[in-house]
């Protein structure tokens, strides 16, 4: 009991010695962030990436090569400290909670760090407030709960705690403190090298300046006492020497610390530096909104500038004033630089300062650091507002009520902003809803599916969580710096899986991977976004199954499995050992330094008890006896000589002395400015009312102008399309004329039958509304809408009539299709196929009896053509077999010496799944790397699904080969759409136009019809193949019209008339010259002999 009481007393004494604000900050930080992080981390951007890295270290601590992303990458491309911490913790609490604990630990370190860092610049009380403010800082909240950045906070905690050690070393020259500073720098580097690198400039450099400036002003004890008033020619040199003598030791210590810090920076993550030198990041920069102009991209401005600063924007004038009028002006300069750099592309200054690094760095990091540097001054502001000069001013001029209101208002705003930001991902989801990964993991584990690569679509950052829980390899990844394939590194595509969101130049890397999946052993796609369904389908993929979690599994047949041994880029063993030991060792040492107050005294007494100090003294004595040179003594001797010299040079004549005169004349002038006198209580009320009025009038004006803008007819139509795009159907319905609109149920019904590529798989890209006719209460507008789909752009033009009723504009309802199908209930027979195989239930590999025979196919003709600046191989292929076939057509180009130049697969311009005796045309478009133009410059970063990147061939193709491969398939064989009323006419521009109607004779909707046109010459050889997607769906027993332009014959240049075609048929079954009624003769002027139309379609309901 007595012992317990003693401990309690000691604890009380310990607590009493601490800053109360800091203690509260630590408790709140633990309670606030520690509770929130488990709920928010799964919705953040980066958390799962670090968890994935952690999972790798948990599996193979000393092997930094991971084959799971891209085609393999090395983890030495990112400092491992925080991720290895997750790996260590995952052994006890699992990966997810490992991340949570690491992040909470980082925030506690940062809270302590900001307190210690602030004490260098502001008073103790203000430093405590700074720690409190840090906990609710909107930038920290955003970084942790929205961005999920762990290394940033992890390393910042160590950096902030390293700086006071560095300052004390520079000021006092205590060697053990220098060691502590270096250890903390090492721990910082282990967490994130960039923090050490930029921290040296923005955090450490001001402290260095502070230490030197303090010494510059502080006379040395043995310094001559003469103080001259005026600087003359005679006393100039002594005065300079006097100051040089003051700062020489601190400058030397600063230099020593700096050199040591660089060495630490290099050694701790040496494998990283060696990797970055051997395998530099030579990739097209990923566009990041933090580099945009925040005036143009206001959303980016909100996320990367307004939110991080948050409420602290209100006190920026005070911060700047306080920063530049105190000893903290070096820190203020640093803040100013960070402030400017954090504005991204809003001004040209960041680009000018950062040069090439501008396109690599994410500039929000500068704003983040700026908000951290701002905190000591914000703490000073709180102190001043509570009982300082600002509090006095407010009370005197506006009264106590206003003063208290301002305090409460600021506190409530600050905390509310933090809470709102922490829950931002709840209000506005940045990630798809959480996906249950277990069915996917189970799918990849069974039937040896892990022998192929996979790809996810529409998973967001959860892709990293999936990878962390699975050993299978994927072609994509979530860490773009490690990308190695040129198809990825030469494009600004951050992730294939989110291709529709960020810049894909041209048809995009995704389309290339889907076109030639055999090149990457890519067999499975897990799709969580129907947007990509049309692209997958028309690239020859088929839906395998929908998993329990709603994810659709797409499969591509005929893909070779991964080789048993995958290539890897290995690093020497010493680097592996360094990577596995030094960063973690640095972190443990850093923790040791931070907790030295707890263990230093007991350790000291233990060492003394064990005689360690006596042993050390003996070693020192022995060393001094055996070494002839004593460098420390020698250095001290030379230093003493130099110091004496400087001291001698500092001497002034005794008459040259006068009282100290303040040199800041402006300060005296400022002090003499008339101060406002305290206002009367009645004036307090008036001024408060005035402030309140200004706020209310501003808010009212904003609301008024907003309503005026909303009521505009053009804006109404724009909003209507926006509502439709985001499926806000009730809002859209309210904009329809109440006098003539159908019931809401009828409106929904009419919308529901409008289906197709644009309506179901398109995303509204832009809408331009133009006024055509205007009457007083009636206007006609033209809405030109651009929809983007995974396949193509669609520009549509609609005419809308609007009427004004009771002062508000409404859209007249569109006329609806009133046609009815002829049959009320009808039946269609069909054929189903099923590949049962002959396999028993076994875990063994596929046996011969289970392998289905390849259907026999015959390539009827093939030729190499040059159209619109691109090489294409076009031709026709027949399935002569009795089974349906899944076709892959690959074409190879060779130069005159027989060297292969390039190969590519036919992608969208063919029917991949064909019936027995069915013919499909094919067109192989040889494409270059998406995003790379011929000049090697990156293409504009916009989504252009219809763009094409022709390949740049160094030598002209001399011959070509076409290979056709087939597998038996039971998928996607519906053929219920017929083409009727086909007519060909010549337009006024001497172009030929083909029109017709598609009629659905089946029982399922043809959601996206795909029309292929095969043009023939007089020998029935294919000249060219066109393909068109029809934007509207065809419901059963309904008809839709279509019109397409024929490619002019003079645009098709035949390069090689016939190539070598290889398929698996032994003897050709059909004669190409036979008449075939499906070939429709074309007019002579067209340049072609005939054309054939074939249609297949994607059905959203499957089949």
């Amino acid at each position: 009991m007595n012992r317990f009481y003693q401990i309690q007393v000691k604890l009380g004494e310990f607590v009493a010695k601490q800053n109360p604000h800091l203690l509260i900050a630590l408790i709140i930080s633990l309670a606030y962030h520690g509770v929130l992080i488990p709920y928010t981390y799964s919705r953040t951007y980066d958390a799962f990436v670090h968890i994935f890295f952690g999972s790798h270290y948990a599996q193979s601590w000393f092997d930094p090569w991971s084959p799971r992303w891209y085609t393999g990458f090395t983890l030495t491309s990112y400092p491992p400290g925080s991720q290895q911490t997750i790996a260590l913790l995952s052994n006890f609490v699992g990966l997810g909670y490992g991340f949570v604990i690491a992040q909470t630990f980082a925030l506690l370190m940062c809270t302590i760090g900001i307190y210690r860092f602030s004490k260098l610049w502001v008073r103790e009380e203000a430093a405590g407030y700074a720690a409190l403010l840090f906990v609710f800082s909107s930038s920290i909240t955003e970084t942790v709960h929205v961005f999920g950045q762990l290394p940033t906070t992890f390393s910042l905690g160590f950096l902030l705690n390293a700086i006071p050690f560095a300052y004390r070393w520079m000021r006092d020259g205590n060697w053990s403190i220098l060691l502590a500073a270096w250890i903390m720098n090492a721990a910082t580097t282990a967490g994130h090298h960039v923090t050490t690198l930029f921290g040296a400039v923005f955090f450490v450099a001001p402290v260095m300046a502070l230490a030197i400036l303090e010494k510059l002003r502080q006379p040395l004890p043995d310094e001559p006492e003469e103080r001259p008033t005026q600087v003359t020619k005679d006393n100039l040199k002594p005065l300079i020497m006097r100051r040089v003598r003051r700062i020489t030791p601190v400058t030397a210590r600063t230099g020593l610390y700096g050199v040591g810090m660089i060495i630490v920076l290099v050694i701790v993550v040496l494998p990283y530096w060696l990797w970055s030198r051997a395998d530099p990041i030579t990739q097209i920069s990923i566009p990041h909104a933090s580099r945009d102009s925040f005036l143009e991209n206001t959303a980016a401005g909100l996320v990367f500038w307004v939110v991080p600063y948050g409420v602290s924007l209100l006190i920026l004038p005070y911060v700047v004033y306080k920063g530049f009028t105190t000893k903290a002006w070096p820190l203020m300069l640093s803040w100013c630089l960070l402030f400017v750099l954090g504005t991204g592309g809003t001004t040209p200054i960041p680009r000018f300062l950062l040069r090439g690094a501008f396109d690599i760095l994410t500039l929000d990091r500068f704003t983040f650091w700026a908000t951290i540097i701002l905190l000591p001054f914000a703490g000073e502001f709180v102190s001043s507002l509570r009982h300082g000069r600002f509090a006095n001013y407010l009370q005197a001029q506006f009264g106590s009520f206003t003063w208290r209101t301002v305090q409460i208002g600021l506190v409530v705003s600050y905390v509310t902003a933090s809470v709102l930001i922490a829950n931002l991902t709840q209000f506005r989801r940045f990630q798809p809803p959480p996906i249950d990964i277990d069915p996917i993991v189970s799918f990849m584990e069974k039937d040896q599916h892990w022998r192929w690569r996979y790809l996810t679509l529409g998973f967001g950052d959860q892709v990293a969580w999936l990878s962390a829980n699975m050993d299978a390899n994927m072609i994509d990844g979530n860490y773009h710096s490690a990308r190695r394939l040129p198809e990825l590194t030469t494009t600004p595509v951050e992730r294939l899986e989110g291709a529709k969101y960020s810049g894909i130049p041209g048809i995009g890397s995704l389309q290339q991977f889907l076109a030639v999946p055999d090149k990457y052993n890519l067999k499975f796609v897990f799709s969580n976004d129907p947007f990509y369904d049309p692209l997958l389908y028309f690239s020859g993929w088929h839906r395998l199954q929908r998993l329990e979690n709603g994810i659709m599994v797409w499969e591509k047949g005929d893909i070779p499995p991964l080789p048993e041994v995958l290539p890897r880029k290995d690093i020497p063993n010493y680097q592996k050992i360094m990577w596995g030991t030094i960063p973690m060792f640095a972190l443990f040492l850093g923790m040791g330094v931070m907790t030295s107050a707890l263990w230093f005294d007991p350790l000291f007494y233990l060492c003394r008890f064990l005689g360690v100090f006596r042993l050390w003294g003996w070693v020192q004595h022995l060393w001094l006896r055996i070494t002839p040179i004593r460098p420390v003594l020698l250095a001290a001797k030379y230093w003493h000589l130099l110091d004496q010299k400087l001291r001698d040079w500092s001497k002034l004549s005794e008459s040259d002395s006068s009282p100290v005169v303040a040199w800041q004349a402006w300060w005296e002038w400022f002090e003499n400015l008339p101060k406002p006198r305290p206002a009367l209580p009645s004036a307090h009320q008036v001024r408060f009312a005035l402030l309140l009025s200004i706020m209310l009038v501003s808010a009212g004006s904003g609301v008024y102008f907003y309503q005026q803008w909303v009521r505009d007819p053009i804006h109404l139509v724009e909003t209507y399309y926006d509502d439709l795009d985001f499926r806000r159907l009730e809002e859209a319905y309210k904009r329809i004329d109440p006098a003539s609109r159908p019931s809401y149920e009828q409106y929904l019904l009419e919308l529901s039958v409008t289906n197709g590529l644009v309506a179901s798989y398109g995303k509204l890209d832009s809408v331009i509304v133009t006024l055509i006719e205007q009457e007083e209460n009636f206007v006609v507008v033209e809405a030109e809408t651009v929809f983007v789909t995974a396949l193509d752009y669609y520009v549509t033009t609609q005419i809308h009539e609007l009427v004004k009723r009771d002062g508000a504009w409404f859209i007249m309802p569109d006329s609806v299709d009133v046609t009815i199908p002829p049959d009320q209930f009808y039946r269609r027979s069909g054929v189903d196929w099923y590949a049962a195989g002959r396999r028993r239930i076994t875990t063994e590999t596929t046996t011969f009896g289970d392998v289905l025979d390849r259907p026999e196919i015959q390539i009827l003709s093939a030729r190499l053509v040059w159209v619109d600046g691109r090489y294409s191989v076009v031709g026709e292929l027949l399935n002569t077999d009795a089974d349906p076939a899944d076709i892959t057509v690959a074409a190879y180009l060779y130069d005159e010496e027989g060297t292969e130049i390039v190969w590519y697969n036919a992608q969208q311009a063919m029917i991949h799944k064909i019936l027995p005796k069915e013919v499909t045309p094919f067109r192989v478009d040889f494409e270059g790397v998406a995003g790379l133009t011929l000049a090697g410059e990156p293409a504009p970063v916009v989504f252009e699904p219809d763009a094409f990147y022709p390949i740049d061939l160094e030598t002209a193709p001399f011959r070509f080969e076409v290979y056709g491969r087939a597998l038996v398939t039971p998928y996607d064989l519906s053929r219920h759409v017929s083409i009727q009323n086909i007519a060909i006419r010549e337009t006024a521009e001497q172009q030929f136009e083909l029109s017709g109607e598609l009629h659905n004779t089946g029982t399922a909707e043809a959601t996206i019809p795909h029309l292929l046109l095969t043009y023939y010459d007089e020998n029935n050889h294919v000249v060219w193949v066109d393909d068109f997607y029809i934007e509207n769906s065809v419901r059963p027993q309904r008809t839709i019209p279509f019109t397409v332009q024929l490619t002019p014959r003079n645009e098709v240049e035949t390069l090689i008339d016939q190539g070598d075609a290889y398929a698996n048929i032994l003897q050709e079954d059909v004669n190409l010259s036979a008449d075939w009624l499906e070939r429709i003769p074309l007019p002579e002027g067209s340049g072609y002999s005939s054309v054939r139309l074939s249609v297949h379609y994607f059905s959203g309901s499957g089949g």
Binding site: F62, S815, V818, S829, A882, V919, R975, N981, T1001, E1078
Partner: protein, 423 residues
């Protein structure tokens, strides 16, 4: 786990290597005897796999002291094994255990001792074949025209997985559709036997089996499928309809067969190609079920005779002529004008528009409106009929003063009216 301990293993290895490096040679040891000359390797020329073998190595120089080590390497196509023995009276006896003799083929025996060496060859004969004798068939589907063939391949193995001896006869039997049994007796050559299995003229499933005396195995399957079709006929139901672009005609083929009367398999693609009186074309794809291809065709908008062919690449059916009569409306219908002053609109209402039985024309029937303005210009617009009526609204503000004539058409039925817009 290996990676976690790799650092420890690395350190232990370093310590071990250092300790070994500390060992020094003992100067008191006598110099080592090194045998030179030729060694004779004596043993059987051939044995069956799985049997133990005794090999004797003899020193021709007879100078090897007893206890001198001799090494015997067995170099086969699957790799090498090494045995060790010691000379005793200038001879060394090697016992090759059965587990080292499971691979058939030639094995080179190389004996070495010091600088002396000798070489011999030993043949391991394969054992008797074991089950299963599996016939592998490819292609697994061929056209049943007595011309196409598939290859049946059998690779018999002994109990150790070695291919059996060359020249071993294998019985292969194929039972073709129509109970047509064929037998073959090829012999193994180059490790396997193979036989061409020609198709018959009847489509169906052929079962292929193989055995070597009493050693049997599973069956192999070969599908004999129909070849390309021969011309067939078409029919339509109903045979006559109005050209109302609404009703449907079922087009059906006769049973489509190949030259040997084999019915086309289900799912074979057939297109019906339709040519209209004005040259417009239709392509109606479908598939065969029970040998018959069937699809539906929507009645055209234009009346007249339509020619229909069933087509599978170059193979065409006999043509079918289908005639569509005039429609959908035939009789004249009334047209009225109403004015909506509230919305400042003028509506032209046509109807009731009726078909041949005086019923409404089908909803959605296209109705065309031609409005002749007083200045001689005309406006042409279309609307859909809904419950027998079609309405065309016009903005009054866009109509100049004067007399307008309206002509409305739906199929061959028409209606006319006029209206006057005042000054």
């Amino acid at each position: 786990m290996v990676n976690r301990h790799s650092g420890i293993l690395f350190l232990l290895s370093l310590i071990l290597i250092s300790l070994l490096g500390c060992r020094t040679a003992d100067p008191s040891e006598p110099p080592e005897f090194i045998l030179t000359g030729e060694l004779i390797v004596d043993g059987p020329e051939s044995v069956s796999v799985g049997q133990a073998v005794e090999i004797i190595v003899e020193d021709t120089s007879a100078s090897a002291p007893d206890g001198t080590p001799v090494f015997l390497s067995l170099m086969g196509s699957y790799g090498a094994n090494m045995l060790r023995a010691e000379f005793e009276n200038n001879k060394a006896w090697f016992y090759v255990p059965p587990e080292l003799t499971t691979r058939s083929g030639a094995t080179t025996l190389i004996a070495t001792s010091g600088e002396a060496g000798g070489k011999a060859q030993l043949i391991f004969r394969p054992d008797e074949p074991v089950e299963p004798i599996t016939p592998l068939v490819g292609s697994r589907s061929i056209i049943a025209d007595a011309d196409h063939w598939a290859m049946a391949v059998v690779i018999p193995f002994d109990r150790f997985g070695n291919p059996i001896a060359t020249g071993t006869p294998v019985d292969i039997r194929s039972l073709h559709p129509g109970n047509n049994l064929r037998t073959y007796r090829p012999e193994t050559e180059h490790l396997l036997v193979w036989e061409r299995i020609y198709s018959g003229t009847k489509a169906g499933r052929t079962v292929i089996a193989a055995n070597i005396e009493d050693v049997h195995g599973p069956e192999g399957i070969l599908l004999e499928i129909p070849g390309w079709p021969v011309p067939y006929t078409l029919s339509a139901d109903p045979p006559n309809l109005p050209a109302d672009r609404f009703q449907l005609v079922t087009l059906r083929s006769s049973i489509i067969v190949d030259q040997y009367d084999n019915m086309m398999p289900d799912g074979t693609q057939v297109s019906f190609v339709v040519t209209g009186p004005t040259g417009e074309t239709r392509i109606l794809p479908t598939i065969t079920i029970d040998g018959i291809a069937e699809t539906i065709m929507q009645a055209p908008r234009t009346a007249g005779a339509y020619t229909i062919h069933g087509v599978t690449f170059g193979i065409e059916s006999e043509p079918l002529i289908l005639t569509f009569s005039e429609g959908p409306a035939i009789e004249p219908f009334p047209v009225k004008i109403t004015i909506d002053n509230l919305d400042r609109e003028l509506d032209i209402l046509a109807g009731p528009i009726t078909a041949d039985l005086d019923q409404y024309v089908p909803d959605g029937t296209q109705v065309s409106f031609t409005i002749n303005a007083p200045d001689g210009t005309s406006i042409e617009q279309t609307a859909q009929s809904d419950a027998g009526y079609a309405t065309l609204p016009l903005r009054l503000a866009k109509l100049a003063a004067g007399r307008y004539t309206v002509t409305v058409m739906a199929g061959s039925g028409t209606g006319t009216t006029h209206f006057i817009v005042p000054e």
